[in-house]
């Protein structure tokens, strides 16, 4: 790992870039990428640290967008309540689906989450409050907390950056807490963790609900930025995309999903002229990553860094 001084320098550079970015790049693009980055981090909390592969995370992301839209547009309430509704709604869906899914392991767990996500998708196609195929459009950008003018893209960017940092910080705290240690232990060897006295299912459920809530925060924020909530965000394709983001960046690394999300969002943005071929290109990249970079970009880079700069005698820190 890096020395403290190097680490401080890297953090300072990233912070400066993050603050200057909206004056260089298109703010709405950056905000979208930040929302997906948070979504991927939330997904990574579950797969990378608890070892639970969910194929239905779009249900939390997309439903939170609908909750946000409904609260802000239909009920005409302020955006902060919309965000809270998105997080709470996603957490509630996470509690119900998680309670049923975590009773099964591996592929069965993934299939149950996929099945729930499909149910949610078809619910959204039919239910009146989602607007069906049209989605919820024209969600107004009202002042946040009554004072922050979110109609200005540059102002909203800093709001979204703050939300992202809040979510990212929360995940960092979770991973480095005793609870996070137990999650890693369950991922490494569930039976052993149980026979030491941990009720693994309770820990897995809590991780699932936390991941769902944070995915909800990402989804509600995206609805705030783009002013609409659509079926795309609850679709199976979206569930697959978040898996891809986490894998490309590096599972079980804290920054990997952020990098992965930026790469994918950038690709979709700049390759948009290729139309549906974006999916083919994504597929190729996915195959290459899985074959050549098993640990994802961040995972491979930090392994290279350790091999290059670390004397053999010292032990690497526990991967985080």
């Amino acid at each position: 790992m890096m020395k403290d001084s190097q680490r401080t320098l890297v953090i300072a550079i990233v912070a400066a870039l993050a603050l200057a970015a909206p004056w260089v790049a298109y703010p709405v693009f950056l905000m979208t990428a930040l929302c997906f980055a948070l979504f991927a981090c939330a997904f990574n909390l579950l797969l990378g640290y608890a070892g639970l592969m969910s194929f239905g995370h779009a249900m939390f992301f997309g439903m939170a967008g609908y909750f946000y839209g409904h609260v802000v547009k239909t009920w005409n309430l302020p955006p902060e309540l919309g965000l809270i509704a998105g997080v709470a709604g996603a957490a509630a869906i996470g509690l119900v689906t998680g309670a049923l899914a975590i009773r099964r392991q591996g592929i069965y767990f993934a299939m149950i989450t996929l099945a729930f996500a499909q149910m949610v998708y078809f619910f959204c196609v039919q239910a009146p409050f989602t607007g069906g195929e049209d989605g919820l459009q024209g969600i107004p950008r009202k002042p946040l907390l009554g004072i922050i003018p979110t109609h200005d893209d540059h102002v909203l960017y800093y709001v979204v950056l703050a939300i992202f940092l809040f979510g990212f910080g929360t995940i960092y705290r979770i991973i480095h807490s005793p609870f996070g240690q137990v999650l890693k232990a369950i991922r490494d060897n569930e039976q052993r963790a149980v026979s030491l006295g941990y009720e693994a299912d309770r820990y897995k459920l809590l991780a699932f609900v936390l991941s769902a809530a944070l995915a909800g925060l990402a989804g509600a924020t995206k609805a705030m930025v783009l002013q609409f909530a659509t079926l795309t965000d609850v679709s199976a394709a979206m569930s697959g995309e978040v898996v891809l983001m986490a894998l490309v960046g590096g599972l079980g690394t804290i920054t990997g999903p952020v990098i992965g999300a930026f790469i994918l969002v950038t690709m979709q943005n700049y390759l948009a002229s290729f139309g549906e071929f974006v999916l083919v290109i994504q597929g190729v990249i996915f195959v290459v990553i899985v074959i050549a970079f098993r640990r994802g970009l961040v995972g491979e880079l930090s392994a290279l860094w350790r091999a290059r700069f670390q004397p053999r005698s010292t032990e690497p820190e526990t991967a985080d």
């Binding site: 005793p178 240690q181 137990v182 890693k184 232990a185 991922r187 490494d188 060897n189 039976q191 052993r192 963790a193 149980v194 026979s195 030491l196 006295g197 941990y198 009720e199 693994a200 032990e315 690497p316 820190e317 526990t318 991967a319």
Partner: protein
């Protein structure tokens, strides 16, 4: 015998369809160090795993401190004060030594402090920041034992702690097990290495075909040596 801490009676256990234990009976007094001996495949490990509730399909009676535990899940059993050190050691590979030591929940007062554990295993102190997988076999075994001493559990189930280790390490583990007994831990030890077991144990139970077939006290080992050799096939 002192107060009975663990009493196993008529214990049957299954892995899926195969019936492994056919009515195991034995008991362990508080503060005793008792071994389960026997050849490969007679059900020694299964007995420990059934006591811990890891083997869920089991009938009969396992009473710990007078309370029945058959039918309880593994985590509930662990919280009553039983701790299991499995043969495969089960070190959590993504945690370092100290994190592995701190992970198990404290279930009762009276466990050892981390400093006391490091005093018992100085190697672990040197390697406290090393990841679980970077340890030697002996260090992993020490960590696997050390990890369950902090929780306040008073019955330790140790499954072949000497397997695959160099003689000098086996010696060291023997000393540590004796020291743990002196500290008041009750220990149920599964061993193939009879010379190791004979050095530390108060009594030996011999298992064959999923049953306990004999009990030999430490003082009677010499006059029963021929019989033991027949049981163990050494």
């Amino acid at each position: 015998m002192a107060e009975i801490l663990l009493k196993v009676a008529g214990l049957h256990a299954w892995y899926g369809e195969s019936h492994i234990l056919h009515g195991v009976d034995f008991q362990v007094g508080r503060g005793e160090l008792v071994t389960l001996l026997g050849r490969n495949g007679v059900g020694k490990t299964t007995t420990l795993r059934s006591i811990m509730g890891i083997v869920e399909k089991r009938t009969g009676s396992i009473a710990f401190a007078g309370r029945e535990t058959v039918g309880q899940p593994s985590d509930t059993i662990a919280r009553q004060g039983l701790a299991y050190c499995p043969e495969e050691r089960g070190i959590f590979s993504s945690l370092n030594v100290e994190e592995n030591l701190l992970l198990p929940p404290v279930v009762k007062p009276g466990g050892m402090s981390v400093d006391e554990i490091y005093r018992l295993f100085p190697n672990l102190l040197e390697r406290r920041r090393s990841q679980g997988t970077k340890l030697s076999g002996g260090e992993q075994q020490m960590l696997a034992i050390g990890r369950i001493l902090r929780t306040g559990a008073n019955l330790l189930l140790l499954d072949e702690p000497t397997e695959g280790l160099a003689p000098v390490i086996v010696q060291r583990i023997g000393d540590i097990i004796s020291e743990l007994k002196d500290r008041g831990f009750t220990i149920l030890l599964v061993e193939q290495n009879f010379h190791f077991a004979a050095r530390v144990a108060d009594r030996h139970y011999v298992m064959e075909d999923g049953k306990v077939v004999d009990m030999i006290a430490a003082a009677e080992v010499e006059q029963n040596r021929a019989k033991l050799q027949a049981y163990l096939g050494v």
